[in-house]
Amino acid sequence: MSAPPVSRRLVVDLASLRAAWRIPKTSVVQIQNALGAAWDVMEVKAPAVSDGDGGSGSPEAISAARGAEIYLGFGVPSGVAAAAKGTLRWAHSATAGIGASLAHMSGSGVLLTNSAGVHAEPMADWVVAAIGYFTRGLDRMLAAQRQGRWAKEDFTDGAIPMRGRAPRVGTRHEGVGRPAARRTRRPQRCGMGRRVGRPTAPRRRK
């Protein structure tokens, strides 16, 4: 009697309590379809910490990670990395920041990918909105509204300077590739000037 075929395992540990970050079922199905029948997709139901760079890992996630080849989470919890040691080949973080995972991932030989570019466009929208909030005096208008004051003179008589030209925007980011460029492209489309970054080599698996 031959032994049953050993399936390869991918763990989905993305059940955030925050609706915006909780993986939908449709995404899990797409992941299963991309992997094919030879893979066992284990979806952790216990809540995963999606704030910051992720949390320490639930007992269910740590249990699921034993023998896993691929892990998808918010960062890579140290308990998950320890449980999957020897079998884990690739871990993907649904966060851009992975600082909390570096200590136990360095030297592990495991490939780690993050979601830096995924967040670029909404963040760029927020940056443009925040710049407009101040440069068009919306903060002062809100303060006047709270006082019930019709503050027309504040803006027409020069008491509050209103910017007449697009501001020059200096951006501090790492890399000048696609994700970094996205963050500065949106302000540039609004007529805002320059950007600066530190060039980095393309980050690809060898």
Binding site: Q30, A34, L35, R89, H92, V127, F134, A143, G170, T171
Partner: protein, 140 residues
């Protein structure tokens, strides 16, 4: 792109910027990078926007320059301590926009994220390079 520089060029960048947007990752190299020296180089009535990590920005120096009316305002989505502690001066400052680390929230997140994961699964299975591979030595 007007010019490209490294950390040592931050004061130069600040000196010519009406708005300084901090979008760098938290690494050993970038912690504290936007310090008092950089902030003081910003032109009068400049803005500071931080969507990175609070650890990159000298919050005390920022507050001081806002109080001195050297800076027009600050839009902060991230802080050295999160949630921002009750009673922190940023909460009540008229020229500070406090956001609870939500600048990345988007209704399209999982559409984009799933596309990235699926693309990388196909690459992984084919032995091809992965997108968004982190350099563990550089820290991002």
């Amino acid at each position: 792109m007007e010019w490209v520089g490294g950390l040592a060029d931050l004061p130069r960048l600040a000196g010519g910027s009406d708005v300084l947007v901090i979008a760098a990752p938290h690494t050993a190299e970038t912690v504290g990078a936007v310090d008092r020296r950089v902030l003081e180089r910003l032109p009068h009535q400049a803005l500071v926007v931080n969507v990175s990590r609070g650890s990159l920005l000298d919050e005390a120096a920022l507050l001081e320059l806002l109080e001195l009316r050297r800076l027009r305002g600050a839009a902060l989505d991230v802080f050295a301590t999160e949630p921002l502690p009750a009673g922190h001066p940023f909460w009540s400052h008229a020229r500070v926009l406090v956001a609870p680390h939500v600048s990345a929230v988007s209704g399209q997140f999982w559409e984009r994220e799933t596309a990235l994961i699926v693309e990388n699964i196909r690459s992984y299975l084919a032995g091809a390079p992965l997108t968004n591979l982190v350099d563990l030595e550089a820290g991002y």
